[in-house]
């Protein structure tokens, strides 16, 4: 039973990223009146990139060559912590979200070092922005995770995300956590309104500008890593939204979770189509909103049990 669940988890981690990226892109193209690329375009792209020969800048060192694979491995490993299928995660232990956050941090550092290794001023600019926004975003994730842990009495991600909503205060915790997590996902995975994955102006990019020099299999590794990270982030929000998360009927939970992942992805696609990218100077304020939402969730935990006991 457990083995089957974990196999399903691994399968989902393998397939969902391709579809989720496809769904977002399809939603965006529908909004702009195009038919858009096929839903499985990412898979075709990866297959094409894998056949290519990488090109290295003469400035670069082995760091540049290895960074994409560190990004990929950290993204996949972080996927084993989250309850992608709603009920359980293959790797679940006390305070695993701390580990999760720092594994994401490792991937981010590798990406930034790869960017700095090219000696390009544009890539340095992207690395600087990524480091800055990630640093101020970090407390938001911990505030949310701490709030969820306090209100569920659980200490692992999978347990804490299965929050039961009952009563006003726990609704506040839940709602504020969802808001904060959505912003966390948007910033961490470089989506609108923070970063535009389709922009072609280097001066305004964050994530895309850091991968300008990567090519061939390395670019494929980064693309897949980014897609996995996006899926993992979306599944966090989906599990929190999922009313059957953590319940006994794991099949129901899994179905609901996957469906919700697509819903969240479609919503992200709508946001990207309808909202303009923020000015870079406004991004810290947007991140502040996530921190405030996390703080509200945390304070609400105090109010609830204070009232009861």
């Amino acid at each position: 039973m457990t083995a089957a669940l974990f196999l399903a988890h691994a399968l989902a981690l393998l397939l969902l990223p391709v579809v989720i990226v496809g769904v977002i892109n399809r939603v965006k193209s529908l909004w702009s009146g195009r038919r858009g690329p096929p839903v499985l375009q990412l898979a075709y792209d990866v297959a094409r990139l894998l056949r290519k020969v990488p090109v290295y800048s003469a400035t670069t060192t082995p760091i540049f060559r290895l960074a994409p694979y560190v990004v990929l491995v950290t993204a996949v490993v972080s996927g084993s912590i989250v309850p992608l299928l709603g009920s359980r995660a293959p790797l679940s232990f006390a305070f695993d979200f701390v580990w999760f956050a720092y594994v994401w941090g490792l991937g981010r550092v590798a990406l930034m070092l790869g960017a700095l290794d090219t000696g390009s001023s544009f890539e340095g600019m992207g690395a600087s922005r990524e480091a800055t926004y990630a640093a101020i975003l970090e407390p938001a994730l911990f505030l949310v995770a701490g709030a969820l842990c306090l209100s569920t009495g659980q200490s692992s991600f999978a347990g804490a995300l299965a929050l039961r909503v009952g009563g006003g205060a726990s609704f506040v915790v839940w709602f504020a956590s969802v808001v904060a997590l959505v912003i966390v996902v948007q910033v961490e995975t470089a989506r609108m309104p923070v970063d535009d994955p389709t922009t072609h102006l280097e001066l305004t990019m964050i994530h895309e500008v850091m991968v300008l020099d990567h090519s061939g299999p390395e670019l494929a590794a980064i693309e897949v890593g980014a897609a996995v990270k996006l899926t993992v982030g979306i599944s966090l929000v989906a599990t929190l939204l999922n009313p059957w998360a953590g319940s006994a009927s794991w099949a129901l939970a899994a179905l609901a979770n996957v469906a919700l992942c697509f819903v969240v992805a479609a919503l992200l696609g709508c946001v990207e189509s309808l909202v303009a990218r923020l000015k870079l100077r406004a991004v810290p304020q947007y991140i502040l909103a996530a921190i405030i939402a996390g703080g509200v969730a945390l304070l609400a935990t105090m109010w609830r049990t204070g009232g009861e006991g």
């Binding site: 090109v55 694979y69 990929l72 695993d96 594994v103 101020i136 407390p139 590794a221």
Partner: protein, 661 residues
């Protein structure tokens, strides 16, 4: 088993004496190294059984006035600190032989320097084992003065002399406060023995609060907590690399040792003390790490990061204080184990980073980040060492920094506080720690990325080749420690096991088995991550074998040069803009005007320490005030003025005494 410990002292003194009298630098180095190696072996012989759970070693001698009796007592806490302080000093001495070689070639006498390194080891033996306040102060002072003399190795340089003097004054302000605390306790107990101090400290009283405040101030100055850190960046940037490493990683841990020693004497602290320690640690971690993000001097950056890391350790100890006052043994265990392990980890990776920075300085004669670049190609071994240290200090798995921070997190997030507001406050501290970790990653990415990656920024900087074996060997050993504790945290925890038992509140028998079982899944997760990273990198490396080479894509611009790369200041400028209220920056600019500028423009930014700036301002204002006031004093009735001052002193003294009683 006390004997080896007692022999170690004379061995070190003999080594120091030999280093002073021998004629050749090689012999002097050999004398210091041999004596330190012997002393290290003796000390390990004595302390390993204690760390394994053996009984403490106690020995007392009668002595003449004013000490009367010298008691040596090596319990698990002393053993923990002794077990790594001496070996790391030995490694530092090995590094010194390599690092100072150019000076020796120029005919400089290295004898006093090696003798002082021996004296540092001797001061550890004293400080970590004596039970008498006067002898403790003696050891404390030996450490302080030796460190000062080690810092001013390059005394011909005015900047170095100033940094050394700055350190000397700060450390003696700390000593002054410490003496005040000891005198106060002497006045209350009539004794200078720690045991008698303990009897006074374990009873809640107003006097205890004053003593605790004095002790905390002194130890905070010693370990460079914010806002007592101002001497630290100057001293670390001026000292030779191995001295910076030893000061930051080893010598100044004495402050935290003393803090823990008095915590043991304190018994059960009050709750507000715990909150104070936690908040103070958090403040230190926050400001320490904020300052690392703006430095352009690599060693100054590492110095500020020491303030950050002692802050993180203190957060752990704060959790333990709260656990003691709430009778929550799991919090005590997590706090003490996390804090201690972080101290040890910090010693491992901070020495590593300073050694690597020293190798950069040896090769390029600069540690200004803005002038470096592309060092990885010219000194790959040093670069790898710096990268390992940098990743570890940013607490990234699977290296050791993550392990200790994870244990501290497990205390903060456990939800074990008796009240909801307290739990919320602890989670807020965890969020602060997360921010500190992320900013630390920013700073280290910046330092490594700018100095070692990209292309060389300044053509006038010549690289003289990678670190020689004598400098590389200590780095490799430290890096090995960093990796081993990262993938096998049990090894680090075993070192602190007996110490954790010392701190457990009476009536609770919670062994570290609890912690080991909590850590086990994380440990496997870290190992799996390490293995996957290895596999991923190997597979990826094979993919790149058939690669073609080209230039960096300049986004359409065809004539980029190395000066156009992102610099250290531009890398952190976005971040600094958000936190400019805390990170003052002096800016001198003369920007080019018009479309075809006639005269060249320039821009210089300089990050300054806000605390130091404010302190100097206050001192200056105070001096101004005193000068103005003294001008108003009439010339004639000097006697009346003097009498007035004496009366004022007496009144203040009486008030203080009255407040205490």
């Amino acid at each position: 088993m006390m004997l080896p410990l007692l022999v170690a002292g004379p061995v070190l003194i003999l080594g120091a004496a030999l280093a002073l009298v021998l004629r050749r630098n090689a012999d002097r180095a050999l004398a210091a190294l041999a004596s330190q190696a012997l002393a290290t072996a003796l000390v390990l012989l004595a302390v390993v059984p204690i760390l394994a759970g053996g009984p403490p070693l106690v020995r007392a001698w009668p002595w003449s006035f004013p000490v009367e009796v010298v008691t040596l007592r090596v319990d698990a806490l002393s053993a923990f600190f002794l077990a790594w302080s001496l070996p790391m000093t030995l490694l530092g001495t090995v590094y010194a032989v390599g690092y100072l070689q150019p000076y020796f070639d120029a005919g400089r006498n290295g004898g006093p320097h090696f003798a002082l390194l021996n004296m540092v080891s001797l001061s550890f033996l004293t400080v970590y084992s004596v039970q008498n306040a006067l002898v403790f102060l003696l050891g404390w002072e030996i450490a302080a003065v030796s460190a000062w003399l080690l810092v001013i190795w390059d005394y011909g340089n005015q900047r170095v002399r100033f940094a050394g003097f700055n350190y000397l004054v700060s450390t003696h302000v700390g000593l002054f406060v410490l003496v005040a605390a000891f005198m106060f306790m002497h006045s209350q107990t009539g004794s200078m023995e720690f045991q008698d101090f303990g009897a006074f400290l374990s009873r809640p009283s107003r006097g205890r609060v004053i003593v605790c405040a004095l002790l905390a101030t002194s130890f905070a100055l010693k370990s460079a907590f914010f806002p007592f850190h101002t001497w630290l960046p100057r001293a670390h940037s001026a000292a030779p690399a191995h001295v910076s490493a030893l000061m930051s990683g080893v010598i100044h841990k004495a402050g935290l040792f003393a803090f823990l020693r008095f915590t043991l004497l304190l018994g059960r602290p009050e709750e507000w003390m715990g909150w104070c320690v936690l908040a103070f640690g958090g403040l230190s971690a926050l400001f320490g790490v904020l300052y690392t993000s703006s430095q352009r001097d690599l060693k100054r950056l590492l110095g500020y990061s020491s303030t950050e890391n002692v802050g993180i350790a203190a957060m752990g100890f704060g959790v333990a204080y709260l656990g003691l006052s709430w009778d929550r043994p799991e919090l005590v265990l997590a706090g003490i184990a996390g804090g201690l392990l972080h101290l040890f980890n910090h010693a491992l990776f901070k020495c590593l980073l300073f050694y690597a920075a020293g190798a950069v300085y040896r090769a390029t004669h600069t540690i200004d980040l803005e002038r470096l670049g592309g060092l990885l190609r010219r000194m790959p071994r040093t670069a790898v060492m710096f990268l390992v240290g940098g990743l570890a200090i940013s607490a990234l798995p699977p290296l050791n920094g993550f392990v200790s921070e994870y244990i501290v997190y497990s205390g903060l997030l456990a939800g074990a506080a008796p009240s909801r507001p307290a739990n919320v406050a602890l989670v807020c501290m965890a969020a602060l720690l997360a921010f500190v970790g992320a900013v630390s990653a920013l700073s280290m990415t910046r330092a490594f990325g700018v100095a070692f990656l990209g292309a060389p920024r300044d053509p006038s900087v010549h690289v003289e080749g990678d670190a020689p074996p004598l400098m590389l060997a200590p780095m490799v050993l430290h890096a090995a420690g960093v990796v081993v504790i990262g993938v096998a945290p049990g090894a680090g925890l075993a070192l602190g096991r007996s110490v954790c038992l010392l701190f457990q509140p009476r009536g609770f028998e919670l062994t570290e088995a609890v912690l080991t079982s909590t850590l086990a899944p994380m440990q496997w997760a870290c190992r799996a991550l390490a293995a996957l990273l290895l596999v991923g990198c190997v597979l990826g490396w094979r993919q790149g074998r058939r690669a073609r080479q080209h230039v960096t894509w300049g986004c359409g611009y065809t004539a980029p040069n190395a000066r156009m790369q992102y610099t250290a200041s531009s890398f952190s400028s976005d971040f600094l803009r958000i936190f400019e209220a805390f990170l003052p920056q002096l800016r001198r600019e003369h920007l080019p005007r018009e479309i075809f500028p006639q005269e060249p423009g320039h821009l210089a930014t300089h990050s300054v320490d806000a605390v130091e700036r404010r302190m100097l301002e206050v001192l200056w204002q105070g001096e101004h005030f005193v000068v103005q006031t003294s001008e108003r004093i009439p010339e004639e009735p000097r006697f009346a003025f003097g009498a007035g001052l004496v009366a004022l002193l007496v009144i203040v003294g009486l008030l203080v005494v009255g407040a205490v009683r």
